[in-house]
Amino acid sequence: MAVEMKSHQFRREREDTWKQLEYLTTKAEKKGIKSLDADEITRLPQLYRATLSSLSVARAISLDQNVLTYLEGLATRAHLVLYGNHERAYEAFSQFFDHRLPRAIRAMGWELALATLTLLLGALAGFFLTMMDPDWFYAFVNSEIAQGRTPTTSTEELREVIDGSKSNGVAGLDLFTTFLVTHNAQVGITAFALGIAFGLPTLYLLFSTGTMLGGFLALYASRDLGVELGGWLMIHGTTELFAVIVCGAAGLHIGRAMVFPGKRLRMENLATAGRTAAMAVMGGVFMFVIAGFLEGFGRQLIIDTVTRYTIATVMLVLWCSYFYLAGHKKEDDAQSIQAQ
């Protein structure tokens, strides 16, 4: 070729810019954008824009497949580095508790109401059916959770379990706590994920949790131990049941978005609902951890029924006021505008 090709000349003139951008992008991808110094941070967007313009020129004048693929990949990688998530872990953490979680919970008002109602209905059904015929107990409470407490157990033994005078047959506090937290959190996550089947399995899960609770209450109430059992259950139960309701509501939130897309496209709506719900579930997992500690430690150490009820009430008030009151200030800051 006597005369140099345009695409060739084009490449020769801009190659340096691309190489520089490639170097900075690779560095940022490997070590994080924080590893770039002040000068590099300033140059990154400039190099990105120059490369983007190279790309659109290349698409118009070059048939060099390697250059086109290279620029396409480089521009995309740089774009995702520049517009990626630059939040530090502790920032994300504090933002989560500061306003993201309470807002996610507040966005699910109707679902929370429905989840609570379903749980209550289940509890009522479980309670009255077991009161009428103790055999229902076996249908509602599985043996693993009953830990040998059934309608045939003597009143004395039932009392021993809840007044703390006898270990409840589990090896130790830490082990028991770990088991409770992981098991309950897993059930909570499942309740959320099942929401994708239009929320129906979630409703079933909430209802059956309710019947189990009602069955237990009925068993103790039939021996005039209802009030004591209430204290024994509720010291962690207000937190734990709240967490169950939050996770259930998150599942219903997805289910609702699948059935009623509202004014937006179904896909968009589902994505927004899914993210809000996932945030709430992470909050639910956190609540299960707190509940696990209350159950594993608090319950064994505090055996006075009145104190137990006091703690139960305080926890409930704390959760409600946190979810209701936190994170209002920044409601219309840059964060929520960006989220649009």
């Binding site: 070729m1 090709m5 345009k6 695409s7 060739h8 190489k19 490639e22 983007l52 313009s53 790309l55 118009a60 004048i61 070059s62 048939l63 060099d64 497949q65 390697n66 250059v67 693929t69 290279y70 396409e72 990949g73 521009a75 995309t76 990688r77 774009h79 995702l80 517009y83 990626g84 998530n85 939040e87 090896a171 830490d174 082990l175 770990t178 088991f179 992981t182 959190a185 897993q186 996550i189 499942t190 959320f192 994920a193 099942l194 994708i196 997805i254 496209l265 896909m267 968009e268 589902l270 994505a271 899914g274 993210r275 719900a277 996932a278 945030m279 579930v281 992470m282 960006q338 989220a339």
Partner: protein, 305 residues
């Protein structure tokens, strides 16, 4: 996104040279970047690798902590640790890596794929939570259910059937929508794409220029092929074949010579020079047409000139 469930009504998919389908990513600068959709195969490979890593990670930690706890004479410590570690692995392995590595896990790195936000905006933590928490019912729950069924020796055939149907629907879900979304991607608003890390290679035409310049082509001889064939030739010139397989190279050169009516014996005697020169000349010619807004997609494209 609008056409998720309407396969028939949409135009044929646009594909990258790699064969992957293309999705556009709009930038604020007005240039739409081309994203290559990750194939189902790549995603299965990445997932399988992640599961293997997870499995052996939990196994290694369990054995390691087993030694420590037996030294401490505290089996309880071991049970607690394994229980906790399994829970964290099951639920947070993917979340942890996707948060830290901007949408990649070890498996995804190897398979060269990454998670991005569908549409505009960055990949946020809540989306990563949502897409990965759903794995619980896509895989782990049906798996546990099936194992539980085996243990209790077919307590309920109906439950097994339901679990099987459920798993099948969710597993096959990515095959029945155009973006290969699994249920988790659907509710998180995410998309899994190929991570293009193509290196910048020497210009194939530059290689040609360094060679024999005595080979010239007439504009008639350059009027047969289009962009498609040019790219095929570029592929050949960049492949190992170009430097090792003489016979195959000669066959290619002969095919071109026959098509364009080349009379000399250069395809036989100076095969590489001939191909390089032809590539450079053909590209120059097609790029010249391109500048005039007159593109020729392939040899079958007779719409212009």
């Amino acid at each position: 996104m609008r056409n998720l469930f309407k396969r028939s009504s949409r135009p044929k998919a646009v594909r990258a040279p790699s064969g992957r389908e293309i999705r556009a990513l709009e930038t604020a600068e007005g240039v739409a970047l081309q994203l290559e959709l990750a194939s189902v195969g790549e995603r299965i490979a990445a997932f399988a690798l992640d599961m293997v890593i997870q499995f052996f990670g939990i196994l290694a930690v369990s054995v390691g902590v087993g030694f420590i706890s037996s030294a401490m004479d505290s089996p309880q410590f071991w049970v607690i640790f394994v229980m906790l570690f399994t829970f964290l692995g099951r639920n947070f392995y993917f979340i942890f890596f996707e948060l830290r590595w901007a949408g990649q896990t070890p498996g995804k790195r190897v398979a060269k794929i990454r998670v991005i936000n569908r549409g505009e905006g960055r990949l946020t933590a809540d989306a990563i939570f949502a897409r990965n928490l759903l794995r619980e019912i896509e895989l782990f729950l049906p798996l546990t259910l099936l194992m539980a069924m085996n243990l209790t020796d077919g307590a309920s055939g109906r439950t097994i059937t339901l679990a099987a149907i459920w798993t099948t629907i969710l597993l096959l879900f990515p095959l029945f929508n155009r973006d290969n979304l699994r249920a988790g991607d659907l509710i998180a608003g995410t998309l899994v794409v190929h991570k293009n890390t193509q290196a910048l290679l020497a210009d194939a035409a530059e290689v040609a220029e360094a060679q024999d310049e005595a080979i010239h082509f007439t504009s008639r001889q350059l009027g047969f092929y289009g962009e498609f064939e040019l790219q095929k030739l570029e592929d050949i010139m960049r492949s190992k074949t170009f430097w090792s397989r003489d016979d195959e190279l000669k066959r290619v050169a002969q095919t071109i010579a026959n098509k364009i009516g080349w009379e000399g014996n250069e395809p036989e005697t100076q095969t590489r020079s001939f191909l390089s020169a032809f590539y450079a000349a053909q590209r120059n010619q097609l790029e010249g047409r391109m500048l005039m807004g007159n593109r020729r997609a392939s040899k079958h494209d007779d719409a212009s000139e």
